[in-house]
Each structure stands twice: as C-alpha cells, then as structure tokens.
C-alpha cells in the first residue's frame, strides 16, 4: 500500500463534522464540499447568506524597506495605487507571461498581506522568496490565520452589531482592522461569489467563538454553512478564475480576459511585462470565453471544444448553473471564435453538446458592491 499523507485540518474541522458535512481532500486539507446540498447552499448565498470556511488559503506578510515597490514588480496590477485599507486582485506572472497564481494584495498600515490559493502556497512562497531583495521580510502566516467568508445579500444584517459599524460602510475591496466576535483581524469587503459579503481573517484560537457567533447571529437571516461545491458554482456563474482550471502557468492574463488587472505603464515594471506587451500588440491567438449549453448535460473540465468538426480547444471549467438553470462553462478558443454568438460543440463522451459563446459574467443580478 503506498503511503498517503493525512490531509490537514482547518480550525473549523470539528464544526463541519458536527454539521454532517461531506469532507474531501482539497489542496491537502479536509474541506467541506457540501452540508445539505449543492443547489440549496448555492441558493442560500444568492438569497440570504452563506458561511464559508476558506482557512486553507495562504496568507503571507510582506514588510520592510521597499516592500511595496518590490511587490509591485511581482504582480501585474498596481500595488502602488493602493491606499491603506484597500485591497486589489492581481495575477502574478512568469517572465513569459504565464500565471504563477492569482491573488489578493492588502495594504495595511505597516505591511502588505498577500492572499494566495491553497494549492499554490508553497509554490508562491518560493517564487516570491526567490525574488525578494534584502531588507524585505516575507513571512508565511497561513498556519496562524483562520479565514471565514460570509457572502450573500443579508451579510450586512448578519454582521450588524458584531463588527465595527464603520465596517458596514466599506466599499468593495476595502477593509478595516477590528473585532468580530472578540477576534481581532482584517474585515474586508471581498469575496468570490458575486454577492455582497465580507472575508474575516483572524487567529485560529478564536475559531469556535467566531463560527458559533456568526451562525447564531445569522440564524434569523437565513445564514447557513456552505461548502466548496456551491462555492464553485457561485464563482463560475461570475466567471471568476479558478487557478489550475481557467488560468495556469501556460495562460496569460490577456488570454484569460484579465487585461484590466495588467497595468503596463506602472513605474518599475513587473515580471512578465515585456512578454505581455508583445502579446498585446497583435490580436490574441486564443481567448477564454464563456458559453452556455442547450440541453441538460454539463460541460466538464477537459472536454474537447469543437467547431466545424475540428477540436479547437477544451473546457477549463463547467457545471450545471443553479441560478441560470442551465449548463455553463468556460474554455480557450481561437481568437476568431471568441465572439458572442459563436456556435461551438462540446464533446461529452460520444455525444456533442451544442454551445454558444455568451458574455461574462453569466449571472448579473448579484448584490456585490
């Protein structure tokens, strides 16, 4: 029998078990994929509020002389334009333009916090450390950081009275440092669902107080725990990227439709700028598109995409969409096919599903600010 690594547990593992969650190994962590049902949990977030344990994600602290300017050279978006109390979303690229990870950068008064995908913690840390100048301190705080997300139109009602009042006035991608159920930490108006919501970063020793406090406060508003299954259908309806599926080290932000996160002109430049400038100078050879399927079968990761009987790409992400009540997906296709209305085929085994390219996001009625 080959040796297997025991998956790690987040600070909320016992709560997931007590709630009857189905647990799976995700990025080396035992994570709740669902508690009651994917569709029910998805709808709970769109209509009321859902509580997500996303503690498996990574958090790095970057501080010291020149830290901000250095970080700005590592990512494509403009860290230099961040105010204290503001965060941004950015890819981090290889010299060839491929994506190492997509991440968030938070500007705190005396440091930056970089939040990365769970599956890339070691890779991202090594990449950053490799490029770190003397004088800049890079510390992995992932094991000391619990992260919960409350997402849905009722989030503000759930949190009212339990967070500093000013937190409820925060705009999108703004954050404050304060207490929630006695736990001091970052309270940010960010999320991965397309709904209004907050992400709460705090020390794991407060796990029980915060989890039980949120569920008690949220009961009257319909707050329920929500698993990774619904998290994926929610984010896919918004056409948000999932690293490893929609973006990889072989796809560039321009191909993925993330050109808005690439600030070519920012002073100091960034790793990958030359390659991306070159790519921007000509029509893109391939682009990530969103498509809907007619029929009931869902497109799935790696299914071939066809046009005119030839394979032209493959599905990066696909699912049945609970909000749209139809199958949706994304995939890379040649630039010329990347127009709204283009007819495509998705090969599912021996059947070909009819698909049509649609604008992204798929879902446009979310409550996010």
């Amino acid at each position: 029998m080959p040796a297997t690594t025991t998956p790690r547990k987040t600070p909320f593992y016992e709560f997931h078990r007590a709630a009857g969650a189905r647990l799976i190994d995700f990025a080396g962590f035992e994570m709740p994929v669902r508690y009651r049902g994917d569709v029910e949990e998805h709808q709970c977030v769109r209509r009321a509020a859902g509580l997500f344990d996303v503690s498996h994600m990574g958090e790095f602290e970057v501080a010291g002389a020149g830290a901000g300017a250095w970080l700005n050279r590592m990512v494509t978006n403009d860290v230099g334009a961040l105010e204290v109390g503001q965060a941004l979303y950015s890819p981090m690229c290889l010299p060839g333009g491929g994506i190492v990870d997509d991440l968030l950068v938070y500007r705190l008064p005396d440091r930056c916090m970089v939040v990365v995908n769970a599956s890339n913690i070691a890779k991202d840390f090594a990449w950053l450390d490799q490029h770190r100048p003397d004088g800049v301190r890079l510390v992995d705080r992932s094991d000391e950081t619990a992260l919960l997300a409350v997402q849905g139109p009722k989030t503000a009602d759930v949190l009212a009275g339990h967070v500093p009042p000013a937190a409820l006035d925060l705009g999108a991608y703004r954050f404050t440092i304060g207490r929630v159920f006695g736990a001091e930490g970052v309270i940010s108006r960010t999320g991965y669902t397309g709904e209004d919501g907050f992400e709460l970063y705090f020390h794991p020793r407060h796990a029980e107080e915060v989890w039980t406090g949120l569920l008690a406060a949220g009961r009257a508003h319909g707050l329920e725990p929500v698993g990774l299954g619904a998290r994926d259908t929610l984010r896919l309806e918004m056409a948000y990227m999932l690293y490893g599926n929609d973006i990889t080290d072989e796809t560039t932000p321009l191909e993925a439709g993330l050109g808005w996160t690439v600030r070519m002109e920012k002073p100091g430049g960034f790793i990958g700028r030359e390659a991306l400038e070159k790519q921007k100078a000509a029509p893109l050879a391939r682009r990530l598109v969103g498509f809907t399927i007619s029929g009931r079968r869902a497109p799935r990761h790696d299914m071939p995409i066809e046009a005119g009987g030839t394979v032209i790409g493959s599905v990066t992400s696909g699912t049945h969409s609970p909000s749209l009540e139809r199958p949706i997906g994304m995939g890379y296709v040649p630039g010329a096919m990347a127009k709204t209305g283009s007819a495509l085929g998705v090969r599912a085994g021996t059947t070909t599903l009819d698909a049509v390219v649609v604008p992204r996001p798929f879902y446009t009625h979310g409550s996010r600010r």
């Binding site: 994929v33 569709v39 998805h42 869902a298 049945h320 599912a348 085994g349």
Partner: protein
Amino acid sequence: MGFPEDVRYTSEHEWARLSGGLVTIGITSYASEQLGDIVYLELPEVGKKLEATKPFGVVEAVKTVSDLFAPVDGEVAEVNPALADNPALVNQQPFEGGWLIRVRPRNAADIERLLTSAAYQKLVEAQHA
C-alpha cells in the same frame, strides 16, 4: 447504514430488484449522496439491449457526472417517466420512486450473481474508509 435487503447490488453502486419477470434498476443511496444534487439523467430508450457491466446511461449532478452500468444482460422495457421533470427524485427516493429503468433480463437468475445487501454494505464501508 443498512441497505434494503430485497435488492441486489453492483460494485458500481447500482441496485437491481426482480419482480414480475422484470428487473428494476436504480442507483443506491450511497451513490446519490456521493454525487450530490442530480440535475439530469441520460437513459436508454425502450427496446435498447443492455450488456452487463457496460454503461447504459449517464447521471449528471451539479458537480459531477457518472456513467450508469447495467447489472444484467437484457432489454429495456420501461424508463421512469417521472425523472425527466424531477431528477431530484433519485436523491430523494433512490430505492423507490427514483428507479431508473426496468429491464427484461436475458436470464432472470443472473440477479443472483450480484452482491447481497450485506456484501454491498462491506464494499461501501471499505470505500468510505
């Protein structure tokens, strides 16, 4: 856990019940729980010939898709009409209202070769460990 004793099981998590010369086939509660919310089923037409252990259809859940494997050789006699509008019936009543197809078996005794409830329970426990 406890699975119904009046049916037989396959290692692919289908169940089969012989009644009145026809074999009713479905997927087990374990399968439907693993799959999550079922949104669509692709089932064969009446008259289609099935071969034991070969795929005969597809069950599509929100997050996953899975083939359905024929427990016995035979010919499709009925397809559950309730599932087109209500695929969730398979999650709600996997052994009763959520049956998938009824098959006229080539050999009614073939059902005896499938797993008993106790054997299936052991298989599930081993897989779940």
